[in-house]
């Protein structure tokens, strides 16, 4: 089932396991990168799990962060009254070196005003703006043009999270996606939720594009409206990681007399 956003108070969080503190601190450091002291978010709570293998560990964390009060409404990412963020982090610790693989943060129970997007396809401005708030908190730089549609969207994004051009472009890309893959949803709420996932995924695709060392192009696919968790659960095969299958004999190399 889709992992829809939860409120911070959905369930009680116990004290964090000591093993999670180091990756949580690293995630917070990454989150606050480039911010001046006094404007940095602080970690309020964290929980998560760790998967360990020979060469490292993969941490999946859920953290509650608190942003300091923002006094300038032109730069505030969240409404003044809403300062708490719920974040999902995935951190790889390989040979003692940390790397942030995934970061998704969103305000908890935030209600924000519209961004000027037309009420179309069941998509309301408030939900759209919420997605933009989420995107605007992402910090990786964007690469050179590789995927025309995606790059133009991202360049519009960089001009300002509430740009009407961006809103229209994004909606247009999403509508193309719905048509191309013949996608329909059960309700307006579902459509809004899928749009927010779609936007988040476009940013993720652009990051993957930026970090690819080959010639691959990443962008909109038929899986673009699925969360990472949904995609993994539905289409992938976690048993392969365990590799507890029957041992097979080793093949003789070809050409070996």
């Amino acid at each position: 089932a889709p992992a829809k956003p939860r409120g911070a108070g959905d369930e009680a969080w116990g004290p964090p396991s000591p093993a999670l503190l180091e990756p949580a601190r690293f995630a917070l450091e990454m989150y606050n990168r480039g911010r001046a002291p006094g404007t940095q978010a602080v970690l309020r709570a964290v929980r998560g799990r760790v998967r360990q293998a020979d060469q490292g560990s993969l941490y999946s964390l859920e953290a509650s962060l608190e942003e300091p009060p923002c006094n300038d409404p032109t730069v505030c990412q969240l409404p003044v009254s809403k300062k708490t963020l719920l974040c999902s982090f995935e951190i790889l610790d390989e040979l003692g070196k940390h790397m942030l693989l995934r970061r998704d943060c969103g305000p908890v129970d935030t209600k924000v005003t519209g961004a000027g997007i037309p009420k179309d396809a069941g998509i309301t401005p408030s939900h759209f703006t919420r997605s933009l708030v989420l995107i605007s908190s992402l910090s990786l730089p964007y690469p050179d043009e590789k995927n025309d549609t995606l790059s133009s969207v991202i360049s519009l994004l960089n001009k300002g999270p509430l740009s009407k051009d961006f809103s229209m472009k994004m909606l247009s890309v999403f509508k193309d996606f719905l048509t191309t893959y013949n996608r329909t949803y059960e309700s307006k709420e579902e459509t809004q939720w899928r749009l927010s996932i779609f936007i988040n995924n476009m940013v993720r695709a652009q990051k993957i594009q930026a970090l690819d060392q080959g010639t691959a192009h990443y962008g909109v696919t038929k899986f673009s409206d699925l969360t990472e968790e949904e995609f993994r659960t539905i289409y992938l095969n976690p048993l392969l990681r365990e590799d507890l299958g029957k041992k097979m004999r080793v093949a003789k190399p070809v050409g070996d007399p």
């Binding site: 970090l211 289409y235 992938l236």
Partner: protein
């Protein structure tokens, strides 16, 4: 190994299939391998049943995942594989309906292949398509081209998807594996994924295997 090879041009590979909303990649990877082995040893390309494995391979977990090594054992123990036509894909586990009389293909054994990608290429060119498992990082958004994610993002120890290598070569001097996926033709390059060859990208060399057909 020859500088390039592609079993698709030699009639050893069936059309790209679609696993649907089911984590049955392991079954598609194995049937693809057996299809190739049967073609090379008996001269006939048959599209084989993944549903038989979903329903009858009790060592694996159907749509919740499975392992190629278990699937080879299941095929051997059951007495073969039926064709796609006789035991068609439903995308969900059902009661086992295998009939030994309908089995068209059998296997004698299975083998684990080298982790050396040069040796894998040599094996592929001589013996046929190879079942492999990879870390699927980035595949959710892959459209075309040769994928080569940064190693820490696509670690070889987080393997989560089984596929079939059907060929290899170079595009503009970049070496690649041509990989048959099971997400339909409306994903990737007509259903195929191209992954960098020679760098152990996404663990492509960690779980290579094949059935043995005599």
């Amino acid at each position: 190994a020859p500088p390039e090879w592609d079993w698709r041009n030699k009639g050893a590979v069936t059309n790209v299939k679609n696993q649907g909303m089911c984590g049955s990649c392991w079954a598609f990877s194995v049937t693809g391998n057996v299809e190739g082995q049967w073609f090379l040893n008996h001269g006939t390309l048959l599209s084989l049943s993944e549903q038989e494995l979903l329903d009858c391979d009790k060592m694996d977990k159907a749509c919740l995942g499975g392992l190629p090594s278990n699937a080879y054992s299941a095929i051997k123990n059951l007495g073969g594989l039926e064709t796609e036509e006789d035991y068609s894909y439903q995308g969900q586990m059902q009661a086992c309906n295998f009939s030994a009389e309908k089995a068209k293909v059998y296997i004698n054994d299975s083998v684990e292949l080298s982790r050396n990608e040069q040796k894998l290429a040599a094996w592929l060119a001589k013996k046929g398509p190879i079942s492999v498992a990879i870390n699927a990082f980035g595949m959710q958004f892959y459209r075309h081209g040769i994928s080569r994610p940064l190693r820490p993002l696509c670690t070889p120890w987080l393997i989560d998807h089984a596929v079939l290598i059907v060929g290899y070569g170079n595009r503009s001097d970049i070496p690649f594996w041509a990989i048959k996926n099971s997400w339909g033709t409306d994903w990737g390059e007509q259903g195929y994924y191209y992954l960098h060859r020679g760098s152990g990208a996404c663990g492509v060399n960690t779980m290579a295997s094949s059935a043995v057909v005599e």
